[in-house]
Amino acid sequence: MEVSTLTITVFGLLVLLLCIGVPISFALCGIATVGIFFIWGPKGLYLMFNTAYGEATNFLLLAIPLFVFMANMLKFSGMGDQLYEVVYRWMGRVPGGLAIGTVVICALFAAMAGISSVATISMGLIALPSMMKRNYEKNLAIGSIAAGGALGILIPPSIIMILYGAVAEVSIGKLFIGGIIPGIVLCLIFIVYIFFRVLINRDVAPPVQDRYSFRQKLRVLGGVILPILLVFLVLGVIYGGVCTPTEASAVGAFGAIICALVYRKLTWSNLKTALWDTMKLNAMVFWIIIGALSFSHFLAYAEIQDLIHETILALEVSPWLILISMQFVFFILGMFLDPAGIIMLTTPIFVPIVTSLGFDPLWFGILFVINMEMAYITPPFGFNLFILKGVVPPSISMTDIYRSIIPFVLLQAFCLILVMVFPELALWLPEKMITR
């Protein structure tokens, strides 16, 4: 079979299987196995084991179960309630204050957890009912939670960055620092948007009527101490030279247990539920990694990777056009696939091209992650949207949720463009903190 025919067949089959709803990991593993058998013969089948074993003992990926566990523990810790109380008492009377505060809490959660679901679930359960009760506009309330939650993968620590770093061989520590400024910028963009939206139309976010004395305000402030300590613990051990980013996941997980203990939420039932959920989510991520890597080994062997690489490099167009096209590809894929799958599928093909074109793979990684912020909230497959649907009251339909995210996707795209035009946003801090 011609390589080009093969390429079309393979990708056609993959799209078909994914469309009818076969789990992503199994579709990838299955196609890879069949493809390897026909192109490479039975000898090639060692690859399935090799890939599974190699990734299951990949030291860099140790951080995945631990960061997921940390997130699951934080979910149970009751930290979200306390943080929201702070926002409520301090910012309730500010126009749009509750939505702005929610975004800030999401950013804080993002700095503690490596995934996006903690903030989304916590705020979906706590902030959303509260905002709805105070007549916040549905779209604004839902959108700020969905988009705020997605910050979890851009503000370090981040499992998506760990995956990118492990495949693209970019320093995970640098990626982590590289995400800080774009994460803050995106957070500020959300805040400014909410603020002006409310300024234009006060009705979308009426101020809270409850008044609190300064003493009452001060009393709840204790709720931010522990989260901030935890943020500094994780980032502190990494940048204080205590341990590597991978090892920091264990420190963070331990910190999360301590938090749960302090908030008196460290029950046997919470602990085991957190572990069980971690076991499931971790297995899911690992099998996507295994499927996608097997698939990309197959693409390399069948010389499909070369074909794509050469075709793209042979295009007589500006490198920037290729880079922008890649962002479009990410965006489209992001509508349908989850970020872990996208990263594992595209990185082996895209990163060599990006490097050949003379771009910095670190910067490209940050662009990718910002793009994946959108993937979390774009329909039809938006991880945060499903999570939200699971926790919001039945009165809120999926259509409501879809509608709410539109302005936020545009804001994320704006942030993506900003970092594309000003690479320093992603590269300055790593340069400053690590290189010198």
Binding site: W40, K43, G44, Y46, L47, N50, T51, Y53, G54, T57, F59, L60, G165, A166, V167, E169, V170, S171, I172, G173, K174, I238, Y239, G240, G241, V242, C243, T244, P245, T246, H297, A300, Y301, Q305, P348, P352, I434, T435, R436
Partner: protein, 319 residues
């Protein structure tokens, strides 16, 4: 099969070094020479890191014929090819020429071939990977200076650091730079050319000469069946191309070292030259490793004994 009419063979080689790296270039040179020497009848397609199989799984993949050839270190497989440790004995040969002498004149090439043969793997040729040794944040003038220091090292290197009294720390290569920068570890045992290539000059202040390995050795390997399926003259061509690749690294390795030393001077990294007595002490501290390896199996025994004998001839005290 008759010469001109022979069919063409296409071999898939997994290289663990990026295309632009010295060893990536050397691997390309090998592939090119094989093709030239066989009039294009044997083509070697080189795959770059991670494309077919990751390093840790490469040896199994090679011995089972999943890939036809491999270029990279065998150190990862020292747990079942212990002979590779002999190629990494610290303070052994003093330059690539001496390494060549061992492989060419003292039977090392044949011994290494016997070692991998058991695993269904043909040892085509060694390759020199520049000097490899201590790159540190603190000065090292004698063995005592290493005492308790956290040095990033894995496998055989960890054993060496252990023997020298340092505390080996196993962290992933990708996390090395930052661990050095932040002081999580205080040094590494790594190829000297990385001082420029990986910008270690930004995070380390010293390198120590002579390097532990001058030079370190990696390998070009081939699946035995794939090798056996080639006609005899093509097999010879592959071996010859491998040896030419080795000679190329014998010649270039010192120039790569020189580049590293130049970088050190430009970037204010101090080059510490150990005096003769210090080197002797370093070697002495690692002797238990030599002796243990010598007793490991008949092949390691011969490899170590011959290397010791050669060093003695050169006037190096080794027991």
């Amino acid at each position: 099969p008759r010469y001109g009419l022979a069919k063409t063979y296409k071999l898939k080689l997994q290289c663990v070094y990026p295309e632009k790296a010295y060893m990536g270039q050397t691997t390309k040179f090998f592939a090119k020479r094989v093709e030239e020497l066989t009039n294009g009848k044997v083509k070697i397609k080189v795959f770059w890191p991670g494309q077919l199989v990751r390093t840790k799984e490469a040896f199994d993949a090679l011995s089972k014929g999943m890939i036809d050839a491999y270029s990279g270190s065998m150190l990862y497989f020292a747990g079942y090819v212990p002979e590779v440790n002999c190629e990494w004995l610290p303070f052994g040969w003093a330059n690539p020429g001496e390494a060549r002498e061992m492989y060419e004149k003292r039977g090392w090439l044949d011994l290494m071939r016997a070692a991998t043969d058991r695993h269904g793997v043909r040892y085509i040729a060694p390759l020199c990977v520049t000097s490899m040794g201590l790159i540190t944040k603190f000065p090292v003038h004698c063995v005592a200076d290493l005492k308790g220091r956290k040095i990033r090292a894995v496998g055989m290197e960890a054993k060496i650091m252990d023997a020298l009294g340092a505390a080996p720390v196993a962290i992933a290569g990708a996390e090395q730079y930052m661990a050095l920068k932040r002081g999580t570890v205080e040094g590494t045992d790594y190829p000297f050319y990385t001082i420029g290539k990986y910008k270690f000059y930004e995070v380390c202040k010293y390198i120590v000469r002579p390097a532990l390995h001058t030079p370190g050795i990696i390998e070009i390997l081939m699946n035995k069946q794939a090798y056996g399926s080639l006609p005899g003259d093509y097999q010879a061509a592959v071996d010859r191309a491998g040896w030419e690749a080795f000679l190329r690294t014998v010649k270039l390795s010192p120039t790569w070292d020189e580049k590293a030393f130049k970088t050190c001077k430009e970037k204010n990294v101090t080059i510490i030259d150990l005096n003769e007595k210090a080197v002797a002490n370093f070697r002495k501290a690692t002797l238990p490793l030599w002796n243990k390896l010598e007793k490991r199996n008949p092949i390691t025994g011969k490899l170590v004994t011959r290397l010791k004998a050669y060093l003695k001839e050169k006037g190096v005290q080794i027991d």
